[in-house]
Symmetry: C7
Subunit: 81 residues, 7 copies
């Protein structure tokens, strides 16, 4: 099997989303949409130029925010990797 065909481990794929646009939903159901500047294996992540979205409305903007990983429900990659 070629390496290209090998499925990627979730955290490896997550690393490939660095510097791409993502939407992060927290357990509290609040979402942050912006550039994922970095992320580690605990899913601690830095976002830049992030919109905070609650019930589909932008309620705040953040230049740079570090989210503690244990609050993350999911991370949606907005673009192809």
């Amino acid at each position: 099997m070629s390496q290209a065909a090998t499925p990627k481990r979730p955290l490896t794929t997550l690393q490939k989303g660095i510097n791409k646009k993502v939407t992060v939903r927290l357990k509290s159901e609040i979402e942050y949409k912006g550039k994922m500047n970095n992320v580690d294996s605990y899913m601690n992540l830095i976002m830049t130029d992030a919109e905070e979205i609650s019930n589909g409305k932008i309620i705040a903007n953040y230049g740079r925010v570090i989210v503690r990983g244990n609050n993350v429900l999911f991370i949606k990659l907005e673009n192809e990797l």
Copy 2:
């Protein structure tokens, strides 16, 4: 006892579901139905072409989403392995 008859450990079976269709229910009762692109032993998982389902209705679609494993209630394998 032959190896074929040995029961599979849960996480080994889960690996066999990679690239198959699954339904993932989270503790919040929301479900994600799509292809399980990958999964690790913590149950972090990547889903592609996933439908988000709440109370039996599709409420969103995700091209590629990474779910943090600690939110998972169960993973249902939709097909035979």
Copy 3:
């Protein structure tokens, strides 16, 4: 003391329930009744031909489902080991 009289550790006993019928109650009070195909020490478990039961009523059927162990409240062994 003979080995037969030695009490079994809980997780060892649990292993003996593999391929037997069990009822698994989750913290959310939902129950799954079916064959416990496999289980590990974290109580991650695979069930096959499982009924999902809420307030005593069957609300869904699952061909094969993997439950994340941290959600488990108890596992009831339906038969003698």
Copy 4:
């Protein structure tokens, strides 16, 4: 100080309750009263011939049930050790 006078560690005392009658209260306030067939250091425990008690009433009976330790609030030893 003689060994008899040395206070027992909690988990050592718990081991001495094996095959004795106990009442286990879970965080959900439900209680299980029966024989503690075995227990480990995580307080995973096997109970046999257990009554499930809610608000002082027996609501179910279990031949053999394995409780996941993290749900336990306390274990009451019904008899002298």
Copy 5:
């Protein structure tokens, strides 16, 4: 600085409360007042002749009960050490 003046680590002080009277408040706000027969570093503890107190009223008595440490909010030492 003399050893007598060195502040005691919390878990060391807790050990000195063994066989003394304590009040243990759990996260659920229920309290147990009795002799702390033993305790470990996880705050698992054995109490003997314990009163269970809710909203200031004694609602039950326990000859010997083992409380799982993760439920503990605080332990009040009733007497000087």
Copy 6:
């Protein structure tokens, strides 16, 4: 950079608050105000002569109480270190 100018790690600073007056707020929003007799890296702490405060009112006094660290929201140092 001189050592005096090096920022202190949080747990090191916390150690410097030993034998000083602190206010400890728990997740349950109850506060304890008194002398922090000792504290460890898990934030288990011993308080002496502590007032228990709820909604700004003193509701109890404790001669010596050991708080389990996982309940702590924050520790406020009342004085300069």
Copy 7:
């Protein structure tokens, strides 16, 4: 790739915010705005001259407070690093 272009790990970036102004939101939705005197990899942090903000209003001031990391939802860096 030059080192300057390498994305920073989240906890490394966090260290660079030391002695800068931050807003820390806790899971309870309360926010603390002030100087982040120090922080460790668990996100335990010391804040000085911190305002406690609830629903957009300042409800208290803290000269020096140590927040237990597990309560943190996110840390917003108020200025460029």
